[in-house]
Amino acid sequence: MKLNQLTLKQAKEGLRKKEFSSLELTNACLEEIKRLEPKLNSFVTVTEETAIEDAKKADKAIADGVDLPLLGIPLSVKDNFSTKDVRTTASSKVLNEYIPPFDSTVVERLKNAGMVLLGKTNMDAWAHGSSTETSDFGPSKNPWDTKRLTGGSSGGSAGSVAADQTIAAIGSETAGSIRQPASWCGVVGLKPTYGRVSRYGVIAMGSSLDSPGPITKTVEDSAVILEVLAGKDELDATTSPKPVTDYSKQLKRDIKTLRIGISNEYFITGIDKEVEEKVKEAIKKLEEAGAKIENIKLFDPKYAIDVYTIIQRSEVSSNLARYDGIRYGNTREYFGEEAKRRIMFGTYALSSGYYDQYYNKAQQVRTVIIDDFKKAFEKVDVIIAPTSPSLALPVGSTKDTSMFGEIADVLVEPSSIAGLSGINIPVGLSKSGLPIGMQIIAPQFGEEVVLSTAFEFESITKGEDWRRLKPQL
């Protein structure tokens, strides 16, 4: 096994036992990035020089006996996280030459934990999309089939993890942008509760929804990274003061006390047959292991699409106003089609006379959806459903489909607008060899049960053949 193929846990272990150095680990990743970028386009910017420097520093620290949760671990970070002195574009040419003078809180916490930053990953421009095809730097390609999309908007992050270009990655989700690409790329993607991880320094998309989180090879790796990221940030007034759990120490739980809710509304018409089968099989496996399965009724997820579309685009129209051509180098002409559409939609929805009809009404329905989940969680601990109704779609699928993202994300939007915690975990491969993902949703600040349920599934399926398969690149 090559070093870049290690999980975060294995890499930490190896560094601790001095089986290899952070420099060797980092170089293995950088070489894989170099080899695969022409095929995958996972990165907008690769920070090779500073990565090597940081790895050397980490090696020295390790030699000095320093112990940090991510010391010497190479990571890739989505390009909407501000990185001091490293170009941050959110995959838009508007910010082609923008170099932030400050680190986002997430990046600062990762640095304090000892991370080696490999580079900034590709995404849908401004995180507007679920394909990474709207990137001004070209689409990212799915490592399992480079004729297919990674999903998005954290497509570069998910792809880089699936292709072992990195040990783990950071993404951000507004509604689906972590879980959906994780599903299409066959990796673990954790979307924390809104307010659990700081948004400070993340180029805003839907401010009342944006949730940064890890994309990893295993559930345990996500837990380790979440421990580093989570918690109150004085620079983000919407972060929660709730104490942070030692997620990685709470992964094992008694499966027999777990109540899993299944809602028929999430096995929608038009869902890919293989996706449906694999997710149902996965639920069956959890049941056999002792979990109690309850059939519950949730609102049809289609209502969430309207709510999400209105709220997110309204916020987008305001958030993008600052790129007025005065200060960031490029003018508004550099906005892509999707961004322009969203700005126009949001501006319209917030206009006087329409506010009550659209934004206000959407907020009211949002409350109804939140209550719907609250009721459900009185009966069950988690809800399980497919993450995406389809397998990874071919490159080019978003052409002339302005609502592509909303349709691809229909199953994750309700929990996003309710600000819940959730995760995507791989449950197998299709006959065509494409990954299939399943989501586990829990109440707000339910990361512990999300992770322990995911960990349980990972443990009981450890020996299955598909787990040993890797993308052939």
């Binding site: 923008y98 993008l320 600052r322």
Partner: protein
Amino acid sequence: MKYKAIIGLEVHVELKTNSKMFCSCSADYFGQEPNTHTCPVCLGLPGALPVPNKKAIEWCVKIGMALNCDTPLFSKFDRKNYFYPDLAKGYQISQYDKPFCINGHMTLSNGKKIGIRRVHMEEDTGKLIHETVDGIKVTLIDFNRSGVPLVEIVTEPDFETAEEVKEYLQKLQQIVRYLGVSNADMEKGNMRLEPNISLRKEGQDGLPNYKVEVKNINSFSFVGKAIDYEIKRHEEILESGKTPTQETRGFVEKNSSTVSQRIKEEASDYRYFPEPDIPPIRWADREISKLKSQIPELPDEKLKRFIKDYAVTEYDASILTKAIEMADYFEEAVKIGKSNNLNAKQIANFIINRKQDINNILPAKLIENILEATKTEKVSETELEKIANEVLSKNPQAILDYKNGKENAIMFLIGQVMRQIGKKIDAEQIKAVLTAKLK
């Protein structure tokens, strides 16, 4: 035809908090090197987030409380979206439908109550500087002021004259200074004034179908001039059978007139929506009562108390309560004066008539000075008797006047005795001697 002016007022007061409204940059921007008091937040850099300044919010609420407003337990910030190069984020964080304070009033000296519609919190913008650099005309942006806390106070259209507006402004300035929340320094732009004016025919009800706003005036006297100018202008237009245009005008100092700046065909659409980056504010009752308890005695009450407790005239009391520093100083001096047998009236007279510099003379020193100034010398009874007799013999007319009931005549005689003695002695002592002799 007779017209009645209907005037409302919007006042922006810049708070003197140490830090800005949503970041920890220093809010003391005046006269500083451009763009030195900035950070990602007040520059509106991608991803930076606002964290509200608790003190600024409390101060805003205190202004509202001092203006007799209600403070709803639920409040929130909103985004006011508009484009201007000095607006770093492309929107201003302000408050729309849930301001911190509503429904207040201020009572003017003529007994009229001016309604306060709302008192809300927002952030200041940057400043554009138009300059020629290397022969090219350019506009530069200084973001030092960006994000400085502003409180906007909006009245009902209850004023009828420029005089009422000016009195309101003076009182408002006095109140915010009493609260210690703003320097309210007009020259530094700490208070910006925007009157809106319209006229209706006497005897008619309701608001006229137009309104003219005059923007960003920075002196009370200019507001008065702008209002007077507008009233006259509207009268002329109305007399000619037309209606003044609904518009925004600017004040021109050099001839005390106004000029049209922007014609508002319809209300601007700011696309307000709740600021998602700042959770709504939910006050607990005890927080509100705590803030209320921190409101100091305000000028009106203090004035009444001074007249009552210290037996000073209304005029003196108004001078003594104009600034809280003076009022506190006076009361401190009264306390010290008490143990020196000086009464409040004597102290008030001394401070006012002798224009004491209260910043440089401590109250205790002031009392010493008063005692020094009123110190009298002793003179022997026999000498006093002798001089009194001399004075009386030289002034038969005064004696006659006194005996005819002119009480003032005795004051003249006291003066004569004092002059003869050539020393400062207790007037009461002389008076006693003289009246005894005149019995």
